[in-house]
């Protein structure tokens, strides 16, 4: 076999020998200009996915006895703009309490995605309800003041609408403060950012517990029939209002009211008791495919171990640190109580941000833990949903 490309094979051979020299010449002729230090895609990537956001409480609104909303704006000395988000997302909020220990929890964003770009000053609004013994909720309700600085994660979460995946008709099942992601969605629909029909079945104890009553009324009126809210009162009987808990029958009743009643998606946010009841008892009766059910879980707690353990923390490039951890607090909480800040986001065990390496010891995780096979094999854990069950040694990746 003899392959010739040029007219003369020998010329090709010389050409080959000169290939390197020709490259060298071309490099010598290239520009000497400095290389760019930024690129548009990389800059916008940093806007959408900041490692950490630096925020200031601009306003505090009392919603009811044990619920307050917080308007959060960018701390301009640290960051110019807020990370944009899809309606239904949450932020993980980090604050330092008086002992300088760190507290973090996730809260759904209740403001509209558009309000991040507000020409006056972009903001997020979050709503926090007091939780018995809830460290961060009590701190925020009792001690947070206007002007206080706090930090947050980038927006995250999967309780967001996707027109390729979800039905055009969505029934939202909200319990208590679980209404917040759906308020954001409803606003996004009115503003034309999202386009789907949203019927919210809003479970509350009594009419006094309704959050965003006027705001939701206003949204409904402006929504061109796309947004509907049905209150479901558990502890109060009112004329022409639903009473009891959210059941499959109730869901079917309102699902049949979509003008095109072919199918629907169910989005759920609320307290664990409500979610468990829906997941185990009510939703299975509807025979929906898994793709039509999206549930945002609330954190689970593993009680029952009141022992105190030692956790040895390895951070590469630093001296090891030993902290005390209780058997009834997550490893993440123990780290934060000792002011060790690692990346974290969902606080449920699914997003992988807090992924750390277990070197030694026993632990227990909640049922929401999601860890792929490979990470399991290499002994990785998600501290946000894992509790110590012996002394531990772990490697963490600090902020």
């Amino acid at each position: 076999m003899k392959v010739k490309v040029g007219l003369f094979g020998l010329g090709d051979m010389l050409k080959f020998k000169h290939l390197g020299d020709n490259r060298e010449k071309a490099i010598e002729e290239a520009s000497e200009q400095e290389l760019p230090c930024s690129y548009k895609a990389n800059d916008i990537a940093r806007l959408y996915h900041p490692y950490k956001q630096y925020l200031i409480i601009k306003d505090i609104i009392k919603e009811n006895e044990d619920t307050k909303s917080f308007i959060l704006v960018a701390d301009k000395s640290k960051q110019k703009e807020l990370a944009p988000f899809k309606a239904g997302s949450y932020l993980s909020i980090y604050v330092h309490d008086k002992d300088n220990s760190l507290l973090s929890r996730t809260y759904s964003i209740v403001s509209s995605p558009k309000e991040v770009f507000d020409s006056n000053e972009g903001f997020y609004k979050i709503t926090i309800k007091r939780v018995d013994n809830g460290a961060l909720s009590n701190f925020m309700l009792d001690k947070a003041t206007i002007g206080m600085k706090l930090e947050s994660s980038e927006p995250g979460g999967f309780l967001t609408y996707n027109s390729l995946r979800d039905s055009k008709n969505v029934i939202a099942l909200a319990g208590g403060v679980g209404i917040t992601p759906f308020v954001s969605m409803a606003k996004a629909i009115v503003e034309g950012i999202e386009d789907f029909n949203l019927t919210i079945l809003y479970g509350v104890r009594t009419s006094k517990d309704i959050l965003y009553k006027d705001e939701l009324l206003d949204i409904i009126n402006k929504s061109n029939n796309k947004v509907k809210v049905i209150h479901v009162f558990s502890d109060e009987k009112l004329d022409n209002e639903e009473h009891g808990f959210i059941t499959s029958e109730l869901i079917s009743k309102y699902a049949s009211k979509f003008s095109d009643n072919s199918n629907y998606s169910i989005f759920v946010a609320g307290p664990t008791l409500m979610i468990d009841n829906l997941r185990n008892n009510e939703l299975p009766k509807l025979n929906l495919l898994p793709k039509y059910i999206r549930i945002e879980n609330s954190p689970l707690y593993l009680d029952g171990d009141s022992n105190v353990y030692n956790i040895k923390i390895i951070t590469k490039g630093k001296e090891p640190l030993v902290i005390k951890a209780k058997g009834n607090e997550t490893i993440l909480e123990a780290l934060e109580r000792n002011n060790v800040m690692i990346r974290s986001k969902c606080h449920l065990g699914g997003c992988g941000y807090c992924r750390s390496r277990l070197i030694k010891g026993e632990y227990a995780s909640t049922k929401y833990l999601k860890l792929n096979e490979v990470d399991k094999k290499f002994n990785y854990i998600h501290p946000c949903c894992s509790y110590p069950r012996s002394d531990l040694e772990i490697e963490v990746f600090e902020y």
Partner: protein
């Protein structure tokens, strides 16, 4: 304490292998990775019931014990083989043209099978196809010789043993395929893999393309059973077991240069920690290193800037990941990889990828290689495409990103359905879209490019390899990964990491 023989920037495929080679050679190596995961693009992620592969379509140059390639040899040398399970991909590819319905071809692995199938599709292509694969074999042998000659090949040996290699080496794909009189239609089908290298047949070096096709067809392609994340995690674990150090979640902010000696003297991490080292292997691109890691730009030799400016940033990544709630049988998805183009002319295709509305795509149905890649009754499908130039930036604003992702996803899915006649939209249970912005976010690759520098003309793999001994501009600073001497792709990146480590080992010997 804070002193290392070598600091490796970035735990992408190149950086991982470079670190492992150095650690296994007894060197004190520090690998710094900005993300908390190793792998760069080589990773996996979960949505709902699905565990998606983030980037790998198929490994090239791997194979099996009885018939294997360089990557297999490398993994064997580094004791990785028995730690990762691989399976074969079922067929070479199916290629479909949107503009001509008759252009729909499924090609098998195995040289004889491939040639026979081509003859079926394109009568009288057999002779030229055979020549093509014979060239592939000669190129493989010649490359092995060049590698052994370490930059000083004997031209008499080359002329005597590898004359065809020498005659085709200076040319791009098109002129050589024309010279061996391959029918145009056979060229079009054969050129299907062009998008794996991200440059059209008029710009892509023949050597590079020919050897890739030869390796795929002769060795078949493999994938790991537990996603590329398992490869990355296994290499990272081996680095640590061999005494190496990995800092995750940390970035190298600055490379310190000794001005008088024009040599590396250390790096500064994002928390201000100074690490002393005389050797840096950067998996981050020269664009990133010269663009922001050397703060005093006067310390960057003019030639280094020229070298970086000589290259063009390659394709910018777009991927779409779908978890479907039907089995591949129910859907009617028979192939593993679908190459769907507007036309089979790679040069036209390349031009059209400068347009944001272009939907040319390579789609992998993972379950066709790994039946248990997802739960029974479900299927994983992932799409990959490239945007060239600034069309993505022009379409993107600060406010419209989510909207843009939805629009692009819809377009790509529509094209797949049209080309294959398979309806998938009603069965989407999970969907995730990765754009250049996503790749920029996870790796900080400039512009969210995923293929390093464009392998075009004098920046093809062959000229890069020929000059790799001469393109050090700052002493102690080497590059690996898609921007380096072997260009992009999993196997090239892994092999480039090994080369960079070996060069550094040579330099370390001289230090002593």
């Amino acid at each position: 304490m804070n002193s290392f023989d070598c600091v490796v920037i970035g735990a992408g495929n190149g950086g991982l292998i470079a670190s492992l080679r150095l650690a296994k050679s007894g060197k004190k190596v520090l690998l710094v990775e900005r993300h908390i995961l190793p792998g760069g693009f080589a990773t996996s992620f979960s949505r709902g019931r699905f565990n998606f592969e983030a980037s790998l379509h198929e490994l090239c140059d791997f194979g099996h014990e009885e018939n294997h390639g360089n990557l297999y040899t490398l993994f064997k040398e580094l004791d990785l083989l028995d730690k990762i399970e691989f399976v074969d991909v079922p067929e070479a590819f199916r290629v479909i043209s949107l503009s001509n319905k008759e252009d729909d071809y499924v090609m098998p692995f195995g040289i004889e099978n491939f040639i026979n199938k081509m003859e079926e599709y394109v009568p009288n292509s057999r002779k030229s196809m055979r020549t093509f694969f014979e060239l592939g074999k000669e190129i493989q042998d010649a490359m092995r010789y060049l590698n052994e000659a370490k930059g000083h090949p004997d031209s008499k040996v080359l002329m005597k043993k590898y004359p065809n290699f020498m005659r085709v080496a200076p040319y791009n794909v098109d002129p050589v395929l024309n010279a061996i009189k391959m029918p145009k239609k056979a060229q079009d089908i054969l050129n299907t893999y062009w998008s794996y290298l991200g440059a059209p047949s008029s710009k892509l070096g023949f050597i590079h393309y020919c050897i890739m096709v030869y390796l795929y067809v002769s060795l078949k392609a493999q994938i790991p059973t537990k996603r590329s994340h398992n490869i990355s995690m296994t290499i990272a674990d081996e680095i640590i077991k061999n005494g190496g150090t990995i800092y995750y979640g940390r970035e190298v902010d600055e490379i310190l240069i000794d001005k008088d000696k024009n040599e590396v003297k250390g790096v500064v991490l994002d928390d201000g920690t100074i690490i002393n080292t005389k050797h840096v292997i950067s998996n981050a691109s020269p664009h990133s290193v010269y663009g922001h890691m050397i703060k005093d730009t006067n310390l960057i030799p003019k030639k280094a800037l020229q070298r970086a400016n000589f290259s063009t940033l390659s394709g910018r990544g777009f991927s779409l990941f779908l978890g479907l709630n039907k089995s591949k049988e129910e859907l009617g998805l028979k192939e593993y990889s679908y190459f769907i183009y507007n036309s089979l002319d790679s040069n036209k295709e390349f031009e059209s990828m400068h347009n944001i509305n272009n939907t040319s795509q390579v789609v992998v149905c993972l379950n066709n290689a790994l039946p248990n890649a997802s739960l029974k009754g479900t299927t994983i499908l992932y799409f990959t495409s490239l945007f060239f130039g600034d069309c993505f930036d022009k379409a993107l604003t600060k406010e419209n990103y989510f909207e843009l992702k939805d629009k692009l996803a819809k377009n790509f899915i529509k094209t797949f359905e049209k080309a294959t006649g398979v309806e998938i939209t009603p069965y989407i249970e999970e969907i995730e879209v990765a754009t250049p912005l996503t790749y920029a976010h996870y790796t900080d690759s400039p512009d969210g490019t995923i293929y390093g520098y464009l392998t075009a003309d004098l920046d093809n793999m062959m000229p890069r390899l020929m000059r790799m001994y001469n393109e050090d501009y700052i002493n102690g600073l080497k590059f690996c990964g898609g921007h380096a001497m072997r260009s992009s792709g999993y196997n090239s990146s892994y092999l480039s990491g090994d080369l960079a480590a070996k060069f550094t080992l040579g330099d370390l010997k001289k230090d002593n």
